[in-house]
Structures are given as structure tokens and as C-alpha cells.
């Protein structure tokens, strides 16, 4: 299992479209992906779960990934968040 803390950098946080991008990337991997923010931990492949995290800009997301491609998955998600969702917003 690989764990990582990621900081949401984009100004508008995890909203519907940014969550969509997250799920899009997460869905490319076989590993199970869990994302925790505050008291909630959700399936990283569930857009509704992520939207429900209500993670504003500056929030820390704790990632827990396990499976055959866990390291690649963490790297890809880290890159997505660090790039502010590819400059989406």
C-alpha cells in the first residue's frame, strides 16, 4: 500500500469538474484508491464521494492506494493535483 498527502492547490477546490478529472485519472488504474479529507474517507473512483468531501482550496487529501499499480496511481494523481487539474480551474 502507498500513502500520500496531497494539497489542493487550485483556487476553486474539488468541485464537480475537477472531481470528474480526478475520477477519470483514478479509473485508469487497477488499484483500489481511497481519499480521506477530515472525517470522511471515500472511493477515489466515485465522483459523488469526492464531491461530498467538499475539499476547498488548501485542503489536505490523504491518499491510500493498494494494488498492482499503486505507485503509478499515486504519481499520476499527485501530478494531476499539483498541476491544478491541468489548469482547468
Amino acid at each position: 500500500m502507498v500513502e500520500a498527502d496531497l494539497v489542493v492547490l487550485n483556487e476553486s477546490g474539488l468541485h464537480v469538474r475537477t472531481c470528474g478529472k480526478f475520477v477519470h485519472v483514478a479509473g485508469r488504474f487497477k488499484s483500489e484508491i481511497f481519499v480521506r479529507h477530515g472525517d470522511f474517507e471515500v472511493n477515489g473512483k466515485s465522483i459523488l464521494g469526492l464531491i461530498g468531501l467538499a475539499a476547498e482550496s488548501g485542503s489536505v487529501l490523504h491518499l491510500r492506494v493498494s494494488g498492482p499499480d499503486e505507485q503509478e496511481a499515486v504519481n499520476a494523481l499527485k501530478e494531476l493535483i499539483d498541476s491544478r487539474f491541468g489548469g482547468m480551474d
Binding site: 487550485n10 483556487e11 468541485h15 464537480v16 475520477v23 470522511f40 466515485s46 459523488l48 464521494g49 489548469g87
Partner: protein, 586 residues
């Protein structure tokens, strides 16, 4: 009788009985599902999801075609919600384990997600509840109702009044039975408004609480020119509205006949008559109304209401779509005109006591060279696919023009070096909006390849009148002699270097003032689509000599009042009734 104001979204006047669409009732009953019926209930839910998916896909492709892929991205996310594995699992568990029906389990699940968003401070995130609700209703319509909301109209032609109407719903309305459309939410550029214009349905949007002030059958007047709604009008008001409608319908018919004719004076002097647009999706209207060009493409849309800068790629794609669609007609891109009343949050909110005299237009652009360069590169790249022109807003010094032109040259060299195609003849011009630019127009025209006068700001700066201050309305005078003399001075400055001068402010859209501008030597006018037919008709009713004589006499008069009287006496008799009868003012 009550007059309510909203936003004029689609021109025309509709008078008739109101047909009020109540806020949608999607009441879900809770009932138990016996274990042997669980498979059927799960299948029922899957069918509802699939139907909702189909609706969303067709809306998505409609929006993508009309407004571009970026606008359609939200529907992509809505589709992902329907495909959410946790959602599917929660509903199936609820049916099989807790023996509850699909509708109630689904609604509870969606409500629990929305409830989590309630807790956050962030306004933007909380607003996302609307997206969840939208998806929820789309599915519930198949679980409790008859599928897509049907806006069934009564047999008698009616004015549709609703809280909100989706673009796909406007597209499906029976044109024979809908006299007009009134909604409580939405703006001129909302998708529904665009579709209403395309279908010629008079519409006023953003009329607060209108559904609560009407019952089915109450008579209502929708004035899509003024953005006004009159409920239960008295005899006088009704008679007035009817005759106004008939006059306008007649005028519209006469003017429509001119659509494919050029904007040329009676003695053959051609004026380039363009339109102002803001959204890539508005290009269809440009072609419909018979314009020669896009004389003002406002690009602020890309920078506002978003959290981060638009990329060069995103802008390039949008600009390319516009120039390709308008080709061979030209498109004038006005570079970012931010600041003043248009503030982009990511540029850092600076408090200014006097924003209109502050950090705006070219001043702001030159302070963000990377952002400005990305936009100029996007326009240059798009120029390979049609006919593009560039102009800069709010120039008040020659140095600003030099800096901006220098940036364009750099971009052109860069693109040439790297082999990216672009139009090497791309004309670069500037707007004349400040008195300082007026007085050095001759110098400006040596560098700039054309001048375009933005009359709204020029009037505001020349007369020192805040155009948004209702107390000062009477002092905002387009016909003030100082304004006309400024325009004349600009034209002379441009001509000294063989350049042309256009006008893209509201003055150009007023048919009488448009004739005056032609008389002052203006070569190009850019107007809102809605005003174009009347402006064209006005230009076609006079000779260049008549317009010149009227303008020449106006320049010698002391006041706006005197000039107004002069126009009434010497210009109005030359104009056809259709031009004088109609319009937003009449």
C-alpha cells in the same frame, strides 16, 4: 396591472394568456420492495439511469456544437455522476437489503452528498449543489414521472412562464403555440436565451418571482425589446402594447427584406456594417442577420467567472472556430479589456477608489505580459484560418500603443521562426476611448492600421459622466457637440495616414446616430445584431452628401438639444417609418 423588469433576451413582443409552469413536483413515495421484486426494481433503476444518460449525451453534443467543448465539459461530469460505482451500489443495497424502492434510496443518497456541501464556507463549492440537484431531477423524472419534463402547452397560444427552462426544452417548444417566454433566472447569454433568439420567440429572463404573481390565463405582455413584462395590463396599456407589437412586426418584416443587401448609401457609398459578439456561440446570429463582419469580439468572457487564466490553447480553439465560421468576413478581436467593472479574481483584487480611471484595459494587459502574449499568440495562430484583426482597448498614450504593437511583432517573429502558420498581413489597430487618444489620433494612426471609436467610454470620459449612475442619466449625451467633434477629429487624424475609422459603441446601433457617424466620415460600424437591420435601412435611405451636410451643420451647433432638434428636422424626414417606429427605445 404590474410592470416587472428583467433582461431582454430575445426581441419581439408577445401578448396572451400566461401558462405558468409550476416548479417541478417530483414527489417520491416510499414503499417496500418485496425480495422477489428486487431484481425488477434494480432493473427499473438501471433503465432510468440509461434514459438520463441518453438525455445528457444529446444535451452535451448540442451545447458542444453551439458553444464549444469547454462549455460542454460540465455535462461530461454529469454523465460521470450517473456512472458512479458507489451510487449504483448504494441503490442496489437499499433495494435488496433494506427493501426500499429505488426512487427513495436514490434521493436519500443524493441528499446526503448535497448535505455535506452545506457545511463549507466556500460559495463556489456550495453552488455545486445545483449540479447535483440537476442530475438528481434528471433521474427522478424517469423514476416517478414521465421521463423528460414535457412542457405541454395548452391548445390556445400562450406565454410560457417558468422558474427556469432548459435549452433543450426551448428547442422542443411548439412554435405555433408559444407567444413568448418569461423566466425567473438566466441571462442574455444563457443557453435558453440563445435558443429562444434562434427560434424567434420573444423572451425576457431574470424576472424575479414572476411565477408567484400570475395564474394560468392571466393576460401578460412580454416585451423582448425592453426587457419588460406587464401582468394583467389595463385597457390602455394593452392597446398600447398591441399597436406597438403590430408596428414592430410590420417593421421587422420590411427590415428582414434588406438582410442580403449591402449597407450602402443611396449614392453607392459602402459602409462596412459589422456586429458585436461576446461568445463563440453567437457567430450563427452574425450570419443570420446579414452582417459584413464581426466588428467587435469581446474576449473578456474567457477571463471572467473562472478561477484561473485561460490557456493559449483554449483561446486558440475558440478564436479559430469563430474566424473559420465567419470567413471570408473579417473578425476584429479586441484584446482583454479587464478592470473597471470587469474584475478577474486571479489578477488580485485591488481596491480602487475610481476604477474607471484606474487599472483597466491595456494598462492591465501590459502589466501581465505573459497573459497578454498568450492571447495575442492565440489570435495570430487563429488568423491562419480566416480573416482576423486585432485592436487594443483603453489606449491613452502613444507609448502604450508602441508596447502593444511591439508585442505583436515579437509574437509574429516567434511564430514565423517556429513555422507556425499565421496571416502575415494581419491588421493591428486600436480603440479610441479616451480624450487623450482623440487628440493624438494623427500620431496613433501612423502606428495603428485602423482606429475604432468606443463611444460608450469616450462619452463617459469626455463628459466626465458615470454612465452607470442613474442620477446623471440626462447628462450622458451622445449628441453633445464635444463628442461629435472628437469623432470628427479622430477621422481626420486617421485619414492623414490613409487609415479607416470605425465606431463600435452604442451610438453605432442607433439608426439616426449611425447616419450622423457616416456623415462625420466613419467607414465602419459595429452594432448589436438586434440593431443591425434598422441601422442598415437608415444608411440605405440617405446619400453620402445628405449625411455629410447634416453632420457638418451639427458640428456647428451649441448643444445636444440643438443637435437633436436638427436631426428631427433634417434627418427624420429622410428615414423610413420602419426605422423610426421600432427598437429598444421606441
Amino acid at each position: 396591472m404590474k410592470r416587472l423588469t428583467g433582461i431582454a433576451a430575445s426581441s419581439g413582443i408577445g401578448i396572451g394568456p400566461a401558462w405558468v409552469i409550476a416548479s417541478e413536483e417530483l414527489a417520491i413515495r416510499e414503499f417496500p420492495i418485496a425480495p422477489e421484486r428486487a431484481d425488477d426494481e434494480v432493473a427499473f433503476f438501471d433503465r432510468a439511469l440509461e434514459s438520463a444518460r441518453k438525455d445528457l449525451r444529446s444535451i452535451r453534443s448540442g451545447i458542444a456544437a453551439e458553444l464549444g467543448e469547454d462549455e460542454a465539459a460540465i455535462y461530461e461530469a454529469h454523465l460521470m455522476i450517473l456512472d458512479d460505482p458507489e451510487l449504483r451500489k448504494a441503490v442496489e443495497d437499499g433495494i435488496r437489503v433494506r427493501n426500499r424502492n429505488a426512487g427513495i434510496v436514490f434521493r436519500d443518497f443524493m441528499t446526503s452528498i448535497a448535505a455535506r456541501l452545506e457545511r463549507v464556507e466556500d460559495e463556489y463549492l456550495r453552488e455545486r449543489r445545483a449540479d447535483l440537484l440537476d442530475v438528481e431531477r434528471r433521474v427522478l423524472r424517469y423514476l416517478v414521472g414521465g421521463g423528460q419534463r414535457g412542457l405541454a402547452l395548452p391548445d390556445q397560444p400562450s406565454v410560457l412562464v417558468a422558474h427556469d427552462v432548459g435549452p433543450s426544452e426551448v428547442a422542443l417548444l411548439d412554435r405555433q403555440r408559444v407567444l413568448g417566454l418569461v423566466t425567473e433566472v438566466g441571462g442574455r447569454t444563457s443557453h435558453s436565451a440563445i435558443v429562444a433568439r434562434g427560434r424567434g420567440i420573444p423572451a425576457v429572463v431574470g424576472v424575479k418571482n414572476v411565477t408567484q404573481q400570475l395564474r394560468n390565463g392571466d393576460v401578460i405582455v412580454v416585451d423582448g425589446f425592453r426587457g419588460e413584462v406587464v401582468t394583467s395590463p389595463d385597457e390602455d396599456a394593452l392597446g398600447h402594447s398591441r399597436s406597438r407589437r403590430d408596428r414592430l412586426d410590420q417593421a421587422t418584416l420590411e427590415l428582414a427584406a434588406l438582410r442580403d443587401l449591402p449597407a450602402v448609401t443611396r449614392d453607392g457609398h459602402k459602409i462596412e456594417l459589422g456586429v458585436n459578439i461576446e461568445l463563440p456561440g453567437e457567430v450563427e446570429q452574425v450570419l443570420e442577420c446579414g452582417a459584413d463582419s464581426v466588428g467587435l469580439y469581446r474576449t473578456e468572457f474567457f477571463y471572467l467567472d473562472r478561477a484561473e487564466l485561460p490557456s493559449e490553447e483554449e483561446q486558440f480553439r475558440a478564436y479559430r472556430t469563430v474566424v473559420e465560421r465567419i470567413r471570408p468576413r473579417p473578425v476584429i478581436f479586441r484584446t482583454m479589456d479587464l478592470g473597471g467593472d470587469k474584475v478577474a479574481s486571479y489578477l488580485g483584487a485591488t481596491h480602487e477608489t475610481n476604477p474607471f480611471l484606474g487599472y483597466r484595459g491595456i494598462r492591465l494587459a501590459l502589466h501581465h505580459p505573459e497573459m497578454f502574449r498568450a492571447q495575442i499568440r492565440a489570435i495570430y495562430r487563429a488568423s491562419a484560418y480566416g480573416k482576423a484583426r486585432i485592436m487594443f482597448p483603453m489606449i491613452s498614450t502613444f507609448e502604450e500603443l508602441e508596447s502593444a504593437m511591439g508585442l505583436c511583432r515579437e509574437v509574429a517573429n516567434e511564430l514565423a521562426r517556429t513555422g507556425v502558420p499565421f496571416d502575415r498581413e494581419l491588421p493591428v489597430g486600436m480603440m479610441i476611448e479616451t480624450p487623450s487618444a482623440v487628440w493624438v489620433a494623427d500620431w496613433m494612426a501612423r502606428e495603428a492600421q485602423f482606429l475604432s471609436i468606443g463611444t460608450n467610454d469616450l462619452i463617459q470620459y469626455t463628459l466626465a459622466i458615470d454612465r452607470d449612475n442613474p442620477e446623471l442619466g440626462d447628462l450622458y449625451q451622445p449628441l453633445h457637440p464635444s463628442v461629435l467633434r472628437s469623432i470628427r477629429h479622430t477621422v481626420e487624424g486617421a485619414r492623414a495616414s490613409g487609415r479607416w475609422t470605425g465606431v463600435c459603441g452604442e451610438m453605432a446601433g442607433d439608426p439616426r446616430q449611425a447616419v450622423l457617424l457616416v456623415g462625420l466620415g466613419i467607414d465602419e460600424l459595429s452594432v448589436p445584431c438586434i440593431d443591425l437591420p434598422r441601422v442598415k435601412a437608415a444608411i440605405r435611405s440617405v446619400t453620402r452628401e445628405q449625411a455629410g451636410a447634416i453632420a457638418c451643420a451639427a458640428l456647428a451647433l451649441p448643444s445636444a438639444t440643438a443637435i437633436e432638434n436638427h436631426l428631427r428636422e433634417h434627418l427624420d424626414p429622410l428615414l423610413p417609418a420602419a426605422v423610426l417606429a421600432s427598437g429598444s427605445a421606441g
